[in-house]
């Protein structure tokens, strides 16, 4: 099993930390993992993306141009990465702020209203965990106990009191992800 994922959105949406939590959780579950971020000026408000690979085997290239799953959180990223999803792969996006929806018909497409849900919950910070939950619903690569360990490892100690609400958000994300196009 090898899952090659791109997560892309605005700096500040928690793109990099979502990838980091996923990578940590994978590592805790004894998988091979890599996390390769865009870095530099993107981190200061522009677009940010990260490639995460979770595998049972030694990881060859951490740098990829085709992905099993793309998690897309803004329009620029949609423009950039829609065509980078492997045929038959998965595209997950939050429609909030998306003006041009994906047009491909050879991939599985899902939406998740994570921004709306986070606003409803009054917890803007769990936006990325809602999205991560949606992803894990489709690709249950990581057991919940290892997700918890991943959160513990990647969050600094002073934020450990927020782990339960993050876990809840992951569970909520699993409920609110919606299929738009599923290949038979």
């Amino acid at each position: 099993m090898t899952e090659e994922i791109i997560i892309a959105g605005f700096g500040g949406q928690g793109v990099l930390s979502m990838g980091k939590i996923l990578a940590y959780a994978g590592m805790m579950q004894n998988k091979e993992v890599s996390w390769f971020p865009s870095y530099g000026p993107e981190m200061r408000g522009g677009t940010a993306n990260v490639t995460v690979i979770i595998s049972d085997e030694r990881i060859s290239s951490p740098i990829l141009n085709k992905f099993d799953t793309a998690i897309i959180l803004n329009q620029q990223s949609m423009d950039k990465f829609e065509n980078s999803v492997k045929k038959g792969g998965v595209l997950i996006y939050d429609p909030n702020g998306i003006t041009r929806h994906p047009v491909r018909t050879d991939i599985n497409i899902y939406t998740i209203d994570a921004a709306d849900e986070a606003a409803k919950l009054g917890l803007a910070k769990v936006f990325n965990m809602l999205v991560l939950g949606g992803f894990l619903k489709l690709k249950p690569l990581i057991e919940p106990e290892y997700m918890r360990k991943g959160l513990e490892k990647s969050l600094p100690l002073r934020h450990h009191n927020s782990i339960p609400e993050n876990e809840k958000a992951i569970e909520r994300g699993k409920e609110i992800i919606k299929a738009q196009l599923v290949l038979s």
Binding site: K20, V33, S34, W35, F36, P41, S61, P62, K66
Partner: protein, 368 residues
């Protein structure tokens, strides 16, 4: 229990240096390697081992602080990225002239000039062929994973003191910034003063009545003596070429075509090898781990077996010259690289290999 962590390459080499018993780090921040010093400052290093970490006023100051520490027989290091390493060349040449051991790290970014902060491999010539003035070489280690970033700190110090030479870890922004699993090993204690005196009798540790004064200088105005100094340096480099070559063969045994790549390009090519095998192409990868000494003999051997070699490097074609020198015309050797911080994709390099050697391309001997 094994101590396994998820770390950035830059953090891994910092942790590696601490655990290798490093005495001092002197540096000046620059993207994409600032995490090295950040990590050292964040990890209460003084309490852990007593190692000194100092942000100098410039790269030029940093390298000369390294010179000073090394002259005292200490395990010292600096790190920077391309423009900063250019500033350090004078100091590196002086350390070559005085045979001072040290660990250097270049997390390469695209140039020339300030260029970009994205990954590149365009400092190969500077690192492997000189950079500073004079006839000298450094041992150059090219990590292709975060684990190797960690491992090469310890290996680098070992080689530096074994041969009294500067060891450069030639990394790039991708390896520095990405996170992978790292298995950590035990803390090596820092050397005591007595150990340093025993280990490095040449070091300026304070003259005692039982020995002559140790003088560390690269200046000798007598050309006869200076020639001897240079001949001895060359003997050392030859010995290193004969004894310290390191490389990794990936699917080479039955290969008909070969990628040659180091660092993050080698990771990309590793995936290209898998993709190529899926397409029925018998392709392998020779990954030089030491860039000096270069695995020339291994490439010469492989030249008898394969039909073509593609050197992949994020440059306009620097290492390819060493591949061509190694195979000496025995097989066609081509270069592929992206410039200015763009990284090639695995299928992209595989397509180039196919176009060059497999899709009815007649071989035009390389001339220059």
């Amino acid at each position: 229990m094994k101590d396994i962590r998820l770390m950035k390459g830059n953090e891994a080499i910092a942790e590696g240096a601490i655990r290798a018993g490093c005495d001092g780090y002197f540096g000046y921040p620059i993207t994409p390697q600032s995490e090295v010093m950040e990590y050292l400052f964040a990890n209460k290093i003084k309490e852990r081992t007593g190692m000194i970490v100092l942000q100098a006023e410039s790269e030029i100051a940093s390298i000369h602080m390294v010179y000073g520490g090394a002259a005292c027989g200490k395990r010292v290091m600096t790190s920077s990225s391309s423009p900063g390493i250019s500033l350090m060349q004078e100091g590196i040449s002086f350390m070559a002239g005085t045979e001072l051991p040290c660990l250097l790290l270049n997390v390469v970014r695209g140039g020339p000039g300030l260029g970009t902060i994205q990954p590149s491999q365009s400092d190969y010539f500077q690192t492997v062929k000189g950079g500073g003035h004079g006839d000298y070489k450094m041992i150059v280690l090219a990590p292709a994973s975060v684990q190797e970033m960690y491992d090469f700190a310890k290996l680098g110090f070992e080689l530096a003191f074994k041969h009294r030479i500067q060891v450069m870890v030639l990394s790039d922004g991708a390896i520095g910034q990405m996170m992978e699993k790292v298995e950590l090993d035990e803390q090596v204690p820092r050397w005591t003063d007595a150990e340093i005196k025993a280990m490095s009798p040449w070091a300026t540790t304070g003259k005692t009545p039982d020995r002559e004064r140790n003088i560390i200088t690269s200046l000798d105005l007598n050309p006869v003596k200076q020639e001897i100094i240079n001949i001895n340096l060359q003997k050392k480099f030859k010995h290193i070429q004969e004894t310290e070559v390191r490389f990794e063969r990936i699917q080479c045994d039955d290969a008909e075509y070969l990628f040659v790549a180091y660092g993050s390009s080698a990771r990309i090519c590793q995936k290209a090898v898998l993709l190529g095998r899926e397409r029925g192409i018998k392709v392998g990868l020779l990954r030089p781990i030491t860039l000096f000494p270069y695995p020339s003999d291994e490439l010469a051997k492989l030249a008898k077996q394969v039909k073509g070699m593609l050197s992949v490097e994020m440059s306009a074609g620097q290492m390819v010259e060493d591949v061509r020198l190694s195979v000496n015309g025995a097989v066609p050797v081509e270069h592929y690289g992206r410039l200015g911080g763009i990284m090639p994709a695995p299928d992209e390099v595989l397509n180039v290999l196919e176009q060059n050697f497999i899709k009815e391309k007649t071989y035009e001997p390389h001339t220059n």
